[in-house]
């Protein structure tokens, strides 16, 4: 099967700092990959580079999405091609309400009732008339991010630390929303590819992923079963990964 995403020898800088150093990565359609790594290792940089944020300057290498070279494309072009992102800490946009955002980005095939149902399910009905992320709690932000992706319906999603800032009670709700987004809760639903960054691994109690990778100092150092990797990290931290390189 053709790769949904393929990254070749990717070198990226932010200002004078090299944040990715020759990353090679690929995933097939509908696969869900998990990315582990210590703080500052390059997890978010990898995701932001895939999405095309200009601050992340590609020095070398290529990114192919659904067979197309997207290395030179800007953020909104990549979104149009079917890439979506859930931010770890999305910015507050006071003037644009969640409702307005949904109206603008919703897939035209989605009917209003489906959207309303999703809003209710994510417990965000009371947030529709508020500015994006304006005074939202950690859990509300994550649910708002996932709601936007659900109505946008991209082919592949990048989810940055879905459990950060979310209390234990709400992690299940976020996990359930991710499963819905990825088409995991119904057999007939379209399966979306995903890369999920997790720091604590809590989200893996709710979402099954196919492969796991560890990123250290701007490079992917090993891959395998995500649960095994998490178990190793819990036992030995990332120290062994550094030694293992």
């Amino acid at each position: 099967m053709k790769n949904m995403l393929k990254v070749q020898d990717l070198w990226v800088s932010v200002g004078d700092r090299k944040v990715l150093k020759g990353v090679n990565f690929s995933m097939e359609y509908g696969e869900i990959h998990t990315l582990f790594g210590p703080n500052g290792a390059g997890k978010t940089s990898f995701m932001m580079t895939l999405m095309g944020f200009p601050k992340y300057r590609v020095e070398q290498g290529k990114i192919y999405f659904k067979g197309e070279d997207i290395t030179g494309k800007d953020v909104h072009e990549r979104a149009h091609l079917g890439l979506g992102i859930s931010f770890q800490r999305p910015p507050t946009v006071r003037g644009v309400t969640l409702k307005k955002m949904i109206e603008i980005i919703a897939d035209k095939e989605l009917i209003k009732e489906e959207i309303s149902e999703t809003v209710k399910k994510l417990n965000l009905s009371g947030h529709l008339d508020r500015g994006l992320n304006d005074g939202f709690s950690g859990g509300e932000m994550k649910r708002s991010e996932l709601l936007q992706l659900m109505v946008q319906r991209p082919d592949m999603v990048l989810i940055d630390e879905p459990e950060s800032g979310v209390d234990i009670e709400n992690i299940a709700l976020v996990g359930e929303a991710i499963n819905t987004l990825l088409g995991k809760d119904k057999v007939k639903d379209q399966k979306r590819g995903a890369i999920i960054i997790t720091h604590t691994g809590y989200i893996l109690d709710f979402v099954n992923t196919d492969k796991g990778y560890i990123i250290i100092d701007g490079n992917l150092v090993c891959g395998g079963n995500p649960r095994d990797i998490l178990s190793e990290i819990k036992k030995h931290g990332y120290r062994r990964c550094v030694e293992c390189r």
Partner: protein
């Protein structure tokens, strides 16, 4: 019976003394340049206005067919050309020129120049000495017209000084909405508009006032406004300026005289070209349990200069609450915004006054966030900008609301 001549004489004497008095804020204008006087006849219907005048009026929210309006007042330069009252409101509401009202009601002595000080500056003096009408609107006790009254103060010729004196009285328990459009029908006209506005909201009354200003590059504007609000009364003022102006300076005051009275100012300003804009709002909280809120959204583009002032003055010995929220975006390296919030507690031990003021660019981070959802950069900027300025003013025609958003979006696209 007309207002007493002795009262009018006193006003003139005070005005004469202030003829050369410069205003505290804003560039000083040589009023001797504006001496053109044009008398115009009445028209039967707003449909009979010239095409230019109609178009200008429509852009300030005026409904030419008078649909969904309780009544209309239309003035061109120094002449009242049209007044009307929806038949449904006869005996409930009255609309006429202030000149006619002064000739009819001697009790207007209690309102005319009782809120705005006639000797405040040379502009109030000029308006008193050479008044050229203005509207008088009074809603009778406990009447609540469903639709707004519309008024348009239009300048059509060069070198005109339009000196209007507007009085609105909302009697006890009554409610009124007013949309006022002040505009030019000639985009290049040079002149000045002096607008004295005295609003009185009696016990339990409500006044919802919206003003849209559409001026042009060579035009000066000096409004002087006071609203006096009695017990349980409320006053909401929406002000929108989205076109260039040579200079405008205004600092409207809401005087919360009665207990539990409230006032809210919403100000939306888009500074274009070399406009000099000095606008503010002052809320004086004198009654107990009074509430005030002042929200200003300003964008400075091109070479515009904007002063966004806001004063909250607490004078009550009892509880009162007021907040000031002033935010600005600078779009050009030649534009300036001065945000000047001021909180004053005059022995008001229980007053809670607060403010937040900020000036900054449109955050690139916000634009990119919207782009990551598949929105183009232009559309992202305009969504953020229109959202920033959005006031959701009721009774503004949909096309006008859309037009306001398009004007904002068109300029916003060039900003990043």
């Amino acid at each position: 019976m007309p207002i007493s001549t002795s009262y009018l004489s006193d006003i003139k004497v005070k005005a004469e003394k202030a003829k050369e008095k410069k205003a505290v804020f804003g560039p000083d204008i040589d009023l001797s340049r504006y001496t053109q006087h044009i008398e115009r006849g009445r028209i039967e219907s707003l449909e009979n206005l010239s095409q230019q005048a109609k178009e200008a009026a429509i852009m300030t929210g005026i409904n030419i067919k008078e649909e969904l309006r309780s009544g209309s007042y239309f003035q061109i330069d120094q002449s009242v050309v049209y007044e009307s009252l929806n038949k449904a409101y006869e005996g409930k509401l009255e609309i006429m020129s202030t000149t006619d009202a002064l000739n009819r009601y001697d009790w207007l002595e209690d309102y005319y120049w009782k809120a705005v000080p006639v000797d405040q500056d040379k502009y109030t003096a000029q308006a008193a000495l050479n008044m050229t009408h203005g509207y008088f609107i009074r809603v009778f006790p406990h009447q609540k017209p469903q639709y707004p009254v519309q008024s348009c103060l239009l300048v059509a010729e060069n070198y005109v000084s339009q000196n209007v004196h507007n009085i609105i009285i909302v009697e006890e328990g009554a409610e009124l909405q007013v949309i006022t459009g002040c505009t030019l029908s000639k985009s290049g006209a040079e002149g000045i508009h002096l607008g004295i506005s005295e609003f009185y909201v009696k016990k339990g009354g409500k006044l919802f006032f919206t003003m849209i200003h559409n001026w042009a590059d060579n035009f000066h504007v000096r409004p002087r406004t006071w609203a006096v609000i009695e017990d349980d009364g409320s006053f909401v003022s929406n002000y929108v300026l989205l076109k260039p102006v040579k200079s405008i300076q205004a600092f409207p005051v809401a005087y919360l005289k009665g207990d539990r009275a409230s006032a809210k100012f919403n100000t939306v300003v888009y500074g274009l070209k070399d406009s000099y804009i000095d606008l503010g709002s002052r809320i004086i909280l004198e009654g107990k349990d009074t509430r005030g809120e002042s929200i200003a959204r300003t964008i400075a583009a091109d070479e515009s200069v904007i002063y966004a002032r806001g004063d909250l003055v607490a004078k009550t010995r009892d509880y009162c609450l007021a907040h000031l929220d002033c935010r600005g975006i600078v779009f050009s390296n030649k534009a300036k915004i001065y945000a000047i919030p001021q909180l004053v507690s005059d022995g008001a031990l229980k007053a809670e006054l607060s403010h937040e003021a900020s000036i900054g660019p449109i955050a690139e981070e916000q634009v990119e966030y919207l782009m990551s959802r598949g929105i183009s950069k232009d559309d992202a900027v305009s969504a953020i900008t229109t959202g920033f300025l959005n006031l959701d003013i009721p009774f503004i025609p949909e096309f006008l609301d859309k037009n306001i958003k398009e004007v904002i979006a068109a300029t916003a696209k060039e900003a990043l």
